[in-house]
Amino acid sequence: MSCSTPGRFGTNTERLEDMALVEFQTGLGQLLRDQQSSDPLHGVKLDANEKRYFETLRETAGFRFCASIQRSWCISRAAKGAYFTLSLLPHVKRDALLNEWVDMGAGTQSFYDAEGESFLSFISERLTDPSHELSMCRFEQATLRANNGATRYTAPDPAKLASPDCVLRRGSYAGLVSFHVDLELLMHAAQNHEPLPPLSDDPLVLIFSPGLPQLWYTPPPEDLEVWNALESPASVKTLLSRNLTPETIATLLRQGTAEYA
């Protein structure tokens, strides 16, 4: 048995003279990440022997099993991040969305929350507006975002509001969701895979903010007016000119619905 060169290695069956650890890891990693690709080893510096090694490996039962585990874990992580929205969708659509997402190379993050928001954005672009499914999707997004902001949330100092030129915007961790049916009915339908009622003409609106004890509330009309006014950043002077009160503005700042721009 011949000695190998430091930093290089060979297989049990055939010597691989020039493949370093980095090429092995990149090759194996890309084979697993890009299972649908016609050229998953693109960009990996491999000689003919090394390419043959990976081509052979790809056909082994062990690799195929590992690839099936990888794919099922990726699907499972994504599904956890959008649990209620996916529960409202027919199985065929649910599976198609998950497969499309994982085919893009997503679902690999161990912390599924980290990908949850982008997966929910991806789903929201593929849902009818308005629809119960889209409401649920935005509800999950808003909950996730507010929850992310809540862990270390501290209310900002309101002193700057005294200046009329102080500019505010919508809070980075805040969101507004419109429901076209009672929320409990919607959750019940999601959990029990029951048919959804028709869309109501009188939507229920909730605001989610990181500084609220329960993260959400039903906003009074004046709060909604501030939210709408902050569709793009606006100064305190502009808000006051719309007959919004300093107290309302300060409250929304304190709870994270608005923030300094």
């Binding site: 000695c3 190998s4 650890l21 194996l28 990693g29 090694y53 082994t60 062990g62 161990s110 980290a114």
Partner: protein
């Protein structure tokens, strides 16, 4: 978290915590951070009620050529400040690669290191850095995997040779996962007891036992049920051979705990105690 009445000194002598289960990831790319969630940390500490605690991490990716997960270590720095651990462990393997633009790309599953001198040297040097950083023993766990033909340097002599090489060249110690070895023995068709004899047993500090299940013709390290009888036999066989071992841990994923039930979990703990006492109190 398992049923609270299992966390008693007459049931368990110490607790093993996977810190990622009480954390979340924030940010992306170089700004990625793993944050401890204060509520969950407080709940975990309260539940463990002063029992000694060891760490078993999953996110370090110690073998990734392009670099380990620095966010994991920063989180572990904070963790140690808040809740000091007796020792900590990680899996011998890699789970990230470098993308074209230098970004870290998670693969989505843990993968084994090839038994080569380059891999051994990389892991040994990183283990020593970790040992220095935390000042408590650092253990690496032998992984379960499904590859029969990993590239190999002849001098290293396979997966077990890789463990010998790393422990010889660093202060790293071993977490001997008997169920992982059992999986490999079943799937790659070798005798697990002969493999036990080849292990660097003097470096074993902790032992894992766990359950698994069949999927697509492979025995999977699923941590989803009771420990197979053959793994209990392996524990009985190995305990007299590991002079420095300090504990045995039964691993079970939280999502399977309710189905298995508190009584069955307590049974598994008692089974581990019985074998432990047979060899360690003699």
């Amino acid at each position: 978290m398992l049923p609270a009445d299992l966390y008693r000194p007459d049931s368990v002598a110490f607790i093993e915590v996977t810190p990622e289960t009480i954390c979340r990831q924030q940010g992306t790319g170089k700004n990625t951070a793993i944050e401890i969630l204060p509520d969950l940390m407080e709940l975990a500490q309260r539940t463990c009620d002063g029992l000694p605690m060891v760490i078993h991490g999953v996110e370090l990716s110690i073998g990734s050529f392009h670099g380990w997960n620095d966010a994991y270590l920063k989180m572990l720095d904070s963790f140690q400040q808040e809740w000091p651990f007796v020792w900590h462990s990680e899996h011998l393997g890699f789970q990230t690669i470098s993308g074209n633009n230098g970004a870290t790309l998670p693969v989505g599953v843990p993968l084994p290191m090839p038994p080569t001198k380059e891999a051994a040297a990389l892991v040994a040097s990183r283990s020593d850095v970790i040992l220095e950083r935390y000042g408590v023993p650092f253990l690496l766990e032998n992984p379960a995997h499904y590859f029969s033909d990993l590239p190999t340097d002849p001098e290293i002599e396979g997966d077990i040779g890789l463990l010998h090489s790393i422990t010889q060249d660093s202060g790293c110690r071993l977490l001997f996962d008997l169920h992982n070895l059992y999986c490999n023995a079943v799937n790659l068709k070798f005798d697990p007891f002969q493999a036990v004899d080849r292990m660097p047993l003097e470096h074993v500090i902790e032992i894992h036992v766990a359950g698994g299940s069949w999927r697509d013709g492979f025995w999977m390290d699923a941590h989803d049920g009771r420990v197979p009888e053959r793994v209990w036999e392996m524990l009985d066989y190995v305990l007299p051979l590991v002079p420095n071992v300090r504990g045995v841990v039964f691993e079970l994923l939280e999502e399977h705990a309710a189905r298995l039930g508190a009584e069955a979990i307590a049974d598994e703990l008692q089974h581990a105690w019985k074998i432990w006492n047979k060899h360690r109190t003699a």
